[in-house]
């Protein structure tokens, strides 16, 4: 509990923030006779001189400047300035937290409460275009690092009091704010309770990204498949919230988590609903095919050339056979070698700064591929196989799902090397077996291709084929049954 003595309060706080040279304390004397001592604690940069002059803090201090002590206490406790971002704090922990989250905290001698005043906060990147969810049509706004800014971007799109934003502090040391955003009446109570339970059970020191929450709260830790959908787009988040889903924001993360989720969600993009249904349906079929290719194509090539050459035309099989004559590796090693070389390029492309990154991918791919073929290390067809597989993996709209398929591709290659097509089908059987028991907040992951009748088949209208918007009259299974009518 804070005491009435400023000196005592300062002493305690100073002890707590010892060694934190970035936290400043500016002392001042208030009142007509300048007898009332006060001080303001803040993290450097979050509250600078100019801000103090011009901000709410500045205005408050100016007012207190000429008041008598009793008037000052009354003024503060009544919040006479009428500003919303002023909170009274009575615990040291709250004071420290207030400073840490980037606000200014004012302590006044003779007053046993501190006043937390919103300031400009920590430096952050502004709103910029999403890098990983680019769309041809639709808003160009993307989430930023600041949680408040992100929730505001959703609020900007859903101007209703039914949109609820529940905040929670997670991380014993980082004290990161996590916001649960949903539409009251649409999001299922059971899902909200489960989210709350899982977040409450989290006992960790640091929460620096939404990815950590994702991994700590997902149901199947060893699954390669993502169990949360992510988005960087406010319009997407708003749309999902309207569909009964819940959005989870983590401070300092521009990536929001959408939950619950299913396999089909990962193939949907924000502009799927902005374009006409023919185009979208076609695009979705391409995406699903891309997922199959991304995982299976190298394995199918391997199975065809080592076990089942009968499925290929004679002319092609003879071309492949003659191209492989000088290759020093078996087809399995050849495939593996080229796939790993591509992974190497991809990883290098991501790490190399600036425009060089993408350049190295293209140039490296072309040069290394061409050189490898010329040197006779690999056959030309394998370059086509690897390139097509890579292209397919980029056509999957969700990076997490794409990564899952990238990893599983090696499993399929191994199975094909040992068992041919039978191996590939067995690999798929393992994967489908796994997917069939995977769940996201209790919802089957394979919905709506499986268990679609839970929602009378309505979710199938937004699956492989996207029905015309006018036909989609029901919200997804995530929404409460009684309020499911009317999607758009």
């Amino acid at each position: 509990m804070l005491s009435r003595s400023l000196m005592e309060n300062m002493k305690t706080i100073d002890e707590r923030i010892q060694g934190c040279d970035d936290i400043k304390c500016r002392k001042m004397r208030l009142g007509r006779e300048k007898k009332t001592e006060a001080c303001i604690y803040y993290v450097e940069v979050t509250v600078n001189n100019l801000t103090i002059e011009e901000s709410v803090i500045g205005k408050l201090i100016n007012r207190l400047w000429n008041m008598e002590p009793d008037e000052q206490y009354e003024y503060i406790s009544d919040n006479a300035l009428g500003i919303t971002d002023v909170n009274e704090l009575s615990e040291y922990d709250d004071v420290i937290m207030g400073i840490m989250i980037g606000d200014g905290v004012v302590l006044i001698d003779g007053y046993d409460k501190a006043v937390k005043i919103k300031s400009k906060g920590y430096p952050m990147m502004g709103i910029s275009e999403s890098k990983i969810e680019k769309v041809m049509r639709g808003s160009k706004e993307g989430f930023s690092d600041a949680l408040k800014c992100n929730t505001a971007l959703v609020r900007k799109r859903i101007r209703s009091d039914k949109l609820k934003v529940k905040e929670k502090i997670i991380g014993n040391t980082t004290n990161t704010t996590v916001a649960v955003v949903y539409v009251e009446g649409l999001a299922r109570e059971s899902v909200l309770e489960e989210i709350d339970r899982r977040l409450s059970e989290l006992q960790i020191e640091g929460m620096t990204d939404s990815g950590i929450i994702e991994q700590l709260t997902e149901e199947s830790v060893f699954s390669p498949f993502p169990q949360y959908q992510t988005t960087e787009r406010p319009d997407r988040a708003a749309m999902e919230v309207l569909n009964g889903r819940v959005v989870l924001f983590v401070d300092n993360t521009p990536v929001a988590l959408l939950l619950p989720t299913n396999y089909g969600n990962f193939f949907q993009t924000a502009d799927d609903y902005y374009n006409r249904f023919h185009v979208v349906t076609f695009a979705r079929i391409i995406r699903y095919a891309a997922a199959m290719i991304a995982m299976t194509f190298p394995a199918m090539y391997l199975a065809a050339v080592t076990y089942h050459p009968e499925i290929l035309p004679t002319s092609l099989i003879m071309t492949l056979a003659s191209a492989r004559t000088d290759v020093p590796f078996p087809a399995f090693v050849e495939v593996l070698l080229m796939e790993l070389a591509f992974e190497l390029l991809r990883e290098a492309g991501v790490r190399i700064p600036g425009p060089m990154g993408s350049t190295i991918g293209i140039v490296g791919g072309l040069i290394i591929g061409q050189a490898a073929v010329t040197a006779g290390v690999v056959s030309p067809i394998i370059v086509i196989v690897v390139a097509l597989t890579a292209l397919a993996s980029f056509a999957i709209p969700n990076e997490e799902l794409s990564s899952a398929y990238r990893i599983l591709k090696y499993f399929a290659i191994l199975m094909a090397a040992v068992y041919g097509f039978f191996g590939i089908i067995m690999a798929w059987l393992f994967i489908i077996g796994h997917l069939s028991r995977l769940k996201s907040f209790g919802f089957p992951y394979l919905m709506p291709s499986a268990s679609a009748d839970i929602n009378e088949g309505n979710d199938l209208k937004d699956f492989l084929v996207r029905y015309p918007i006018g036909f989609m009259r029901w919200k997804s299974v995530y929404a409460r049954k009684e309020n499911r009518k009317g999607r758009f």
């Binding site: 009968e310 499925i311 035309p313 004679t314 004559t325 077996g433 499986a450 009748d453």
Partner: protein, 512 residues
């Protein structure tokens, strides 16, 4: 929170029936009904009627909870019936595993050791059976298209090859004709009962009532599944029979459906021969069938456990899966293949043979045989040239001193540096001097039954100008098969020259 309720919906019911019973019935039923030729349709009729009556009976039992083990109602008789059900399910599961092994080692991986196949199947079975019955049903919903679409495509592509005359039952033929020898009614009824055993999933409705949603959709799902399955089977049987005729059914070799897959190439050069590719989807169905049997076997065993020991028994699905899978694997190894080999010893000998753990062969190690020229004393293999782009002009010819293809292959294997690959063979030439001989019948039988030879490869008598051209090609190392294939394909009688037609015609002739 949303969660599993261990209940199967109507849609899941329908798809489960299609996926789990589609593969096994399509493989086995033509074998059983095929013995009766066109009268085989009556076998399906008997099986269909019995299935409908049985399903109605089971639904009646289900609605009255007759087989439910409510605490007091459960009697020793009910427990006994459940034990019988368990035995049946176990046998069906073992049968399913046997079928998969047979298809995989027969068609897909003829040179891979059986134990390698069993290892991966056992691992997958154990994994699948640790899940819930509802998760299996979800997976079947997804797999539905993977099974149904390829089979529909195969049948659709094969239907133009059907000869309608093959489909007329003996009932409608004049007495005295070959097919009109009278109906074997008793045999048909027996075969119908045998088939009916494969169409009896409806009993699970009555025994495992608590695992189905009690609504009209589930009932509809059962009926829909049963009728679609029966219709699909009849259409498939009609297609196979229409193509191969009575003589072709059960005439050795592999399952009739797989034979059809050999000749049902997709138009265009890609996927010209789809048996290897399509049979994996059949394997998918067989696997799902096994999983379903094991799922319900597990449920039935728990129920028996509950009857005997109350609800105290621990239900460890992993232990159950491992034990049951182990029993199935051992059963397939020791008993299942006895059917094929005659004795268990013979099978074990086969299982421990020199087959490989990994049997894939690199393209450059394969010698692609373009034609087989069977002379009166020799067999010559025309092997495509390895040189880039030269295969249409140059060939290597290997002549072996035996006029039986099988023996010639063995001779080549002893000395050849490559593995002979017959998957792209274009034409089989048979010298006119031996065309009517038993040796030719033996050769045709061998090639017809061996999966590596496509059923629709051309068979051409070697005489006159063709003989001279062949001799010239062999002498100068010129490509012969490619040239001849182009000529033969464009001829009016090209269809009559396909391997399976030539062989079946010969059988028909011999029977007369």
């Amino acid at each position: 929170m949303f969660s599993d309720n261990e209940k199967i919906s109507g849609r899941q019911m329908y798809r489960t029936i299609m996926v789990t019973l589609g593969g096994p019935t399509l493989l086995i039923c033509p074998l059983v009904a095929g013995r009766f030729g066109a009268d085989g349709f009556f076998v399906y009729l008997v099986a269909g009627v019995l299935s409908v009556v049985y399903t109605m009976l089971m639904m009646w039992c289900k609605n009255r909870g007759i087989f439910q083990c409510g605490n007091k109602r459960c009697t020793a008789v009910m427990a006994g019936l459940r034990i019988l059900l368990c035995i049946k399910l176990l046998f069906l599961a073992i049968g399913g595993l046997y079928l998969i092994c047979d298809v995989v080692t027969g068609i897909l991986l003829p040179e891979t050791h059986l134990f390698m196949v069993l290892i991966v199947l056992a691992a997958a079975l154990i994994y699948w059976n640790t899940g819930s019955i509802e998760s299996s049903a979800r997976a079947f919903e997804l797999i539905f298209y993977w099974v149904v679409v390829p089979i529909v495509v195969v049948i659709a592509v094969a239907i133009p090859k059907v000869i309608p005359g093959n489909l007329i039952p003996s009932l409608f033929l004049k007495e005295g004709s070959m097919a009109g020898k009278g109906m074997d009614v008793a045999g048909i009824v027996k075969a119908g009962i045998l088939l009916w055993l494969l169409f009896t999933p409806s009993e699970l409705l009555a025994f495992c009532k608590e695992h189905y949603r009690n609504d009209t959709k589930t009932t509809k799902g059962v009926w829909r599944g049963l009728f679609m399955l029966l219709a699909g089977n009849v259409i498939t049987y009609g297609t196979i029979l229409g193509i191969y005729g009575e003589e072709g059914m059960n005439r050795g070799g592999t399952y009739p459906l797989l034979k059809v897959m050999q000749i049902s190439g997709i138009p265009g050069d890609f996927l010209r021969r789809v048996d290897g590719f399509m049979s994996v989807f059949l394997v998918l169905s067989l696997f799902c069938g096994m999983v379903m049997m094991m799922d319900y076997l597990g449920i039935s065993l728990w129920q028996i456990g509950d009857i005997l020991f109350g609800k105290r028994g621990r239900k460890n699905k992993t232990v159950y899966s491992v034990v049951i899978t182990g029993i199935m694997v051992i059963a397939v190894v020791l008993i299942g293949m006895k059917v094929k080999s005659g004795t268990a010893d013979a099978f074990l000998e086969d299982a421990y043979s020199d087959k490989s753990i990994i049997s894939g062969t690199e393209l450059e190690d394969r010698g692609f045989v373009m034609s087989v020229i069977i002379g009166s004393e020799t067999v010559t293999f025309e092997i495509a040239s390895d040189d880039e782009g030269a295969w249409q002009e140059e060939s290597e010819y290997v002549t072996l001193n035996d006029n039986r293809v099988l023996e010639a292959e063995k001779l080549y294997k002893e000395n050849g540096d490559k593995k002979l690959d017959f998957t792209h063979i274009k034409v089989i030439f048979i010298d006119e001097d031996i065309y009517g001989n038993d040796v030719t019948t033996e050769n045709l039988k061998y090639m017809y039954e061996k999966e590596k030879f496509a059923e629709n490869v051309m068979v051409c008598p070697l005489s006159g100008d063709i003989k001279k051209m062949a001799a010239d090609a062999i002498e100068n190392g010129k490509a012969f098969a490619v040239v001849m294939e182009n000529i033969l394909v464009n001829s009016e009688k090209s269809q009559d020259m396909e391997l399976y037609r030539v062989y079946l015609e010969r059988l028909r002739y011999q029977n007369q």
